[in-house]
């Protein structure tokens, strides 16, 4: 369990950091979806 902790923490950080970053670009994603015809 203890050996898994660093990996779990690292993964949690990466996911959170990506989510925080991606949040501000929602309008870009919407544009991509519109271009692809699914938005």
């Amino acid at each position: 369990m203890t050996r898994l902790l660093p990996s779990a923490l690292a993964l949690a950080w990466v996911l959170c950091a990506l989510a925080v970053y991606a949040w501000q670009y929602l309008d870009y994603f919407n544009t991509v979806l519109r271009i692809l015809g699914v938005g």
Partner: protein
């Protein structure tokens, strides 16, 4: 023809660089590294030499062709007898995937180079100034702060391609020189990161928002990265081997950087600091400074001759001449308190210095342009791993290239922030390749120490690349459409360049004896008639600061400046005097244009329609006598 000129100029750059490296007896063990450094150095040599050709009035096709021919003669020197073949890289499936993605990004660059240019800064001066110089047959002094009286070393390299191969050759040249920056980074990264790591770093840098925004345009930052890389590499070699010839190359590279942009002076200071790390610091720093002055001092001398201020307008109150007409002490004070302050939205405190990279990545103030033209997610996502990697190597940091790369980046950034430069993120692009290399080297250390973390690090890298590649693809859609839609250049420009619509009419109906007062700087490159930039910040001949109440005074200034026509967008600007001027028939309406105002080069949804009106200035009108 465009392609032939492009290849000739590329060969000339490599040739000039080969001559310089041979003269300095610098030979990289790695052939790809040697080739890239030769291109980077030769690119600077070409820009440096063309200054002297330009002020002597030899910007004619014959002379420019001769310069390229001289450069090409240096090519045989590239194959140095000491060079060994590039060590074979360990390629695997991941390598091929990364290479394919890199090829995709580069292919989009080709599409971007095909249509006519639409980037505002490029059209206002990066491309407009070389075009003006070619038409004049010589370099002319442009008395305008920020985008007129500036160092032009990189833009000088646009002159031969534009003069000999036309606009297409010039846009292809920006593409190629941007590619060379990525290739140089790949070459420098291989000793530290291997094949996959180097490809990943190259792909990360090629798809950074700041890179895709600027690389395919006339903007110079990605090309300045060539100078940053060659000079930092050279200092690294000098610190390791104690060789003076590498210091000369470093000084020349840093001088080229300073000759390309005022911010290069901060780079010189940052790199100069690392030169002091050697025990022969006094000799090294003197030689370094001398090389910097020789390689980059000419544009500062050019400014000093014309304005008194070598870094116009930074020292204008102290050194500036009082007889410049368009620029006065009062105008200088207005410019610095207005425009420059607006370009620095983040207060210059120690806390903000540390927070800046995160701030502009996660919640960028509008003026920094960090949201659209930012640093990408890699640095933010990898922050804890980078810091941990730094902790891991704290006892093993040696005086070598990586230390120089990192120190130069940090010192440049600190100086850039504290000296009150414009806080636009894209101004950091010349240092971005080296910064990403340093970050990747530190993250790799974490992966080496803790193999269990490697899948997570790969996942984070993959996610960052996915995001950046998606943005790159979105950015490229417009150019791919142009290639296949069969649009004419005029149609493309009307759809993609802010308020382009009046340009064809103005070019057809106004002549060389007219002078247009125009606030649309993005149109300068396409105008074939004389013009003056209508901005309250960049000229004082016509007072646009809203202080003139009487339209008669305004009319007098327009006439005294030789302006014959005025182009206005939307509502009457600046002051009520302009409205009075129109109402009193001193400005006669000539033509009205419906045009598009482009909010984003990437997202067409942000465009809006607007109206522009062209007025003719009447020499005599009621009330002026």
């Amino acid at each position: 023809m465009a392609l032939a000129v492009l290849l000739a100029q590329a060969a000339a750059c490599v040739g000039f660089g080969a001559i310089l490296l041979k003269a300095l007896r610098i030979d990289c063990a790695d052939r790809l590294n040697h080739f890239c450094l030769a291109f980077a150095a030769g690119f600077g040599v070409l820009g440096w030499g063309l200054f002297f050709l330009g002020i002597a009035g030899f910007f004619q096709p014959m002379a420019l062709g001769l310069v390229l021919a001289v450069g090409v003669t240096g090519l045989p020197l590239l194959k140095s007898p000491q060079s060994t073949a590039t060590p074979p890289l360990k390629w695997n499936t991941i390598s091929w995937v990364l290479l394919a993605l890199l090829a995709l990004v580069l292919a989009l660059d080709v599409f971007e180079a095909l249509p006519p240019p639409t980037d505002a800064d490029s059209l206002a001066y990066h491309f407009a100034a070389p075009r003006q110089f070619i038409q004049a047959g010589r370099i002319e002094f442009i008395l305008r702060p920020l985008d007129g009286a500036i160092p032009y070393l990189v833009q000088m390299t646009y002159v031969p391609v534009l003069a000999l191969g036309g606009e297409q050759a010039m846009t292809l040249w920006t593409m190629l020189s941007g590619w060379m920056a990525i290739m140089t980074l790949f070459a420098l990264a291989r000793p530290y990161l291997g094949a996959n790591g180097s490809l990943a770093v190259a792909l990360l840098t090629a798809s950074l928002p700041i890179t895709i925004y600027a690389a395919g345009t006339g903007q110079i930052e990605i090309r300045m990265a060539l100078f940053a890389m060659v000079s930092c590499w050279a200092v690294g070699q000098a610190l390791s081997a104690g060789t003076l010839r590498h210091i000369v190359l470093a000084g020349i590279g840093a001088g080229f950087y300073a000759g390309a942009k005022y911010l290069g002076l901060l780079f010189v200071a940052g790199l100069g600091l690392t030169v002091l790390l050697h025990r022969r610091w006094l000799t090294f720093s003197c030689v370094f400074a001398l090389a910097v002055i020789v390689a980059g001092g000419q544009w500062y001398a050019w400014n000093a001759v014309h304005t008194g201020d070598p870094v116009f307008p930074m020292l204008f109150p102290l050194l500036g001449r009082s007889d410049l007409g368009l620029w006065t002490l009062e105008q200088d004070a207005f410019f610095k308190s207005g425009l420059m302050e607006a370009d620095r939205p983040i207060a210059r405190t120690l806390v903000n210095l540390l927070l800046y990279p995160f701030w502009v990545t996660l919640n960028a103030p509008e003026a920094t342009e960090g949201r659209q033209v930012g640093l990408g997610p890699y640095g933010w996502v990898m922050t804890p791993f980078i810091l941990y990697g730094l902790w891991l190597v704290r006892h093993r940091i040696r005086r070598g290239p990586i230390l120089v790369y990192g120190t130069s980046c940090i010192v440049f950034f600190v100086l850039w922030f504290v000296t009150g430069s414009s806080q636009r993120v894209r101004h950091l692009l010349p240092m971005a390749p080296l910064l990403i290399l340093c970050m990747a080297v530190l993250v790799r250390q974490v992966g080496l120490r803790h193999p269990a973390l490697r899948p997570i690090l790969y996942f984070a890298l993959g996610a960052c690349l996915t995001f950046q590649l998606a943005i790159t693809g979105l950015f490229g859609v417009k150019y791919v459409r142009y290639a296949f839609a069969g649009q004419s250049d005029q149609q493309y420009l009307e759809a993609n360049l802010t308020v382009y619509a009046p340009v064809p009419w103005i070019n057809a109906n106004l002549g060389a004896d007219d002078k247009l007062f125009i606030g649309e700087r993005q149109l300068f490159y396409y105008l074939t008639v004389p013009y003056l930039f209508m901005s309250p910040h960049t000229q004082s001949a016509v007072d646009l600061r809203g202080r003139i109440d009487r339209w008669q005074d305004l009319h007098r200034q327009l006439i005294a400046t030789g302006l014959t026509h005025v182009l206005l967008r939307g509502e009457t600007p600046f002051s009520s005097a302009w409205g009075d001027l129109i109402a009193s028939s001193c400005l006669m309406p000539m033509h009205e244009f419906q045009a598009l105002q482009i909010g984003s080069r990437t997202l067409s949804a942000r465009s809006a329609e607007t109206v522009l009106r062209l007025y003719q200035v009447q020499p005599v009108c009621p009330g002026t006598g």
